[in-house]
């Protein structure tokens, strides 16, 4: 069994061109109930100027992966194996002081809930100016001016005055804009957005997404965009990685994954998403069962207990052997490529409308 799981995460040599390269990442937490394998053999690459969308249910390891990239996990309870290379620099073994120089500077993060993610005790301007002072050595005054400039750039009206406000004096959308200004203040090459629009109204959500796209064009950053909203990801991302139970199950460009998804889990996600242009009388089909406990993940294919296509593979392959995710366009499923195509066209697509 162990050899099989090892094989599942078979390391692919790091892509020399990639800006960020994650190889065979394993993250586990010690908890009172046992060891939680939050990320289990994950590999992916990201190039400059591109946006990678990571989709998956809660607990699939999306956020953990990205916190690990910046080393924001709690080292007391966390074990990390594998490689994270940012421009060739190994991050899993990097010293805390090196990570500090990198965070907010070369790689920045936007969090989900801007109300709790901004400190209530300091002004918005100060919170934006702080990383700028730290990373560029700018004076207090210059950093404050930069903060005002950034607030203007993210579309806060009257930024000079609003910079003196505290986060609770901002509306939800403005707080998220301030959060984005804070993340972009040092022109990061990598921006990790962890469900940045989940806590916002739909109208504000659209504005924030547009803002992120504009800013990406201006700054040329690579973006990792985490969400569980397939609609948002179709709008934002160049590439998609679908995660399930701590590993990637499908990967490809947006049009590949959205038009011709190959993994039963992705089919399930698409099926459970309401669409305005589909037959409105057709019920949404949720994926049966619940996400597996990562304390004791299922053997073989992590998705097999919930998969309705298991019998098409035949035998005990799904139960015993973890399917591999090849580089580039790929899905980790034992179905043959031919089967995947016919099942999607004949059984899944008609229901999506």
């Amino acid at each position: 069994m162990t050899t099989l799981t090892k094989e599942a995460g078979a390391p692919v040599p790091a892509d020399a061109d990639a800006f960020l390269s994650v190889r065979d990442l394993h993250v586990s937490f010690k908890t009172e109930d046992g060891i939680v394998k939050a990320v289990d053999g994950l590999s992916f690459d990201l190039e400059r100027g591109r946006t990678l969308g990571i989709v998956g249910e809660s607990g699939s390891g999306k956020s953990v992966t990205n916190l690990t990239i910046l080393g924001l996990h709690n080292p007391l309870f966390t074990t990390i194996e594998g490689e994270i290379l940012l421009e060739g620099q190994e991050l899993t073994t990097a010293k805390e002081s090196e990570l500090e120089k990198l965070r907010g500077n070369k790689a920045a993060m936007i969090f989900q809930d801007p109300l709790t993610a901004l400190s209530p005790y300091y002004t918005v301007g100060r919170q934006i100016a702080e990383p700028f002072m730290k990373h560029t050595g700018a004076s207090k005054k210059a950093a404050w001016e930069r903060a005002v400039e950034m607030l203007g750039k993210v579309g806060i009206p009257n930024p000079k005055e609003r910079a003196k406000d505290y986060p609770h004096q901002f509306s939800g959308g403005m707080r998220q804009r301030a959060m984005i200004a804070m993340a972009l203040v040092c022109d990061p090459d990598l921006l990790i957005a962890d469900e940045p629009t989940t806590a916002l109204d739909v109208t504000v959500q659209a504005q924030i997404l547009d803002l992120l796209k504009d800013l990406q064009q201006e700054f040329g950053s690579a973006i990792i965009f985490i969400t569980h909203d397939l609609g948002v990801i179709a709008d934002m991302a160049d590439d998609i990685m679908v995660m399930y139970a701590g590993g990637a199950v499908e990967r490809g460009t947006v049009s590949e994954v959205m038009r011709a998804p190959q993994h039963p889990y992705t089919w399930g996600l698409l099926n459970s998403m309401p669409r305005l242009d589909s037959d409105l009388s057709a019920p949404l089909t949720p994926i049966p069962g619940a996400p597996p406990s990562l304390l004791n993940p299922p053997t073989g294919c992590r998705f097999h207990p919930r998969c309705t296509f298991q019998d098409r593979v035949g035998g005990t392959l799904c139960v015993n052997e973890r399917p591999l995710l090849a580089p580039d366009r790929a899905s980790a499923c034992h179905l043959t490529a031919e089967q995947k195509r016919t099942i999607f066209i004949e059984e899944i697509k008609p229901r999506l409308g």
Binding site: F111, S119, P120, P131, H168, M182
Partner: protein
């Protein structure tokens, strides 16, 4: 802010007023006649009635209360013992001393004891608590946690005599606890109070250690603290600027309560070390059914607690900008 303070002060005055009524009623509910204590061995109905008349106890309760309030606000020249300027609580039944003067006489002892101990237990308590939070999970943290647990289960009447026996009577390292006027000689003031300070703050500090530790650990898990780390701020900066600020709220709350009640008199500590402060006065007033003294001590300690509460609320506004607006 000013309006807030004015409102709170007016509220405090109302509470003190109500409290004085309750104290008055409770006193007369006691099955004990203070005049009997003064009457002595040759007591007869006639002399008892005399004493009642002198103390004003022969008047109706509302009338007595009215006189009390009037004296408190305007002072009085009606007392046989002499004049009594406002705030006048009258003269003690037991000692015949002016109550307010007696309290002001005892106040420096209580003030020195409380403030000195408060400085020590706040610094030591918060310091060790924060070190434990900083080194969470290490041997140091576990030692501090266990140690503070043991210490906080000790009591002053246990630790106090122990310290006295070991440090004063056996080894003569320190002088016997006593209150010496600070302005007269700061050195004897300090040496006389050091043991009470150490004992009192040992017991209080352990509580602050545990609170500071848990409050810091809680704050360190806040999302905004993670954001601060995600933008590259150093661990130290995040710890002292982001997490510390939030952890202060519960600590300031408890500190206000502790300080307020200690300022009203640390009864057990004063008795243990033989320091005649307000706490001793309070016990004495109950022992001798001494109504003027009882009212004085009672209202003074209540006023201290109310004052500390107002200061705490004002501190919240300094710590948390969200409080300033609402």
């Amino acid at each position: 802010m000013l309006r807030f303070l004015v409102r709170r002060f007016l509220g405090a005055v109302v509470i003190l007023f109500l409290l004085s009524i309750v104290t008055f009623l409770l006193f007369f509910g006691m099955p004990r006649d203070p005049a009997l204590l003064m009457c002595g061995k040759t007591c007869n109905p006639q002399s008892l009635a005399n004493i009642h008349h002198v103390l004003g106890l022969d008047k109706s309760i509302p009338e007595q209360y009215g006189i009390f309030l009037h004296n408190l606000v305007f002072g009085s020249n009606q007392f046989a013992q002499g004049p009594c300027p406002a705030p006048c609580f009258g003269y003690s039944y037991h000692t015949n001393d002016q109550v307010w003067a007696t309290m002001m006489d005892r106040l420096p002892t209580t003030l020195s004891l409380t403030l000195g101990a408060a400085v020590v237990f706040l610094i030591v308590g918060l310091g060790t608590g924060m070190v434990a939070a900083w080194r969470r999970g290490t041997l140091l943290d576990k030692t501090v946690t266990a140690g503070s647990m043991v210490i906080s289960s000790l009591q002053i009447y246990f630790l106090g005599p122990l310290a006295l026996a070991a440090l004063v009577y056996q080894s003569h390292i320190f002088s016997k606890p006593a209150y010496n006027d600070f302005t007269a000689n700061p050195i004897t003031w300090f040496s006389g109070l050091i043991i009470p300070w150490v004992v009192l703050s040992t017991i209080f500090a352990s509580q602050y250690t545990r609170m500071a530790r848990s409050s810091m650990i809680e704050q360190l898990q806040e999302e905004h603290v993670r954001t601060a780390r995600a933008k590259g701020m150093s661990r130290k900066y995040v710890f002292f600027r982001y997490a510390w600020r939030g952890s202060l709220i519960p600590i300031v709350t408890i500190f206000g309560i502790d300080l307020g009640s200690l300022l009203g008199g640390a009864i057990i500590t004063e008795f243990t070390f033989g320091l005649p402060g307000l706490g001793m006065l309070a016990v004495q007033s109950v022992q001798f059914s001494d109504l003027p003294l009882l009212l004085g001590v009672m209202l003074f300690s209540a006023a201290m607690i109310l004052l500390c509460n107002i200061v705490v609320d004002a501190c919240y506004a300094f710590i948390d900008p969200r409080v300033r607006l609402s």
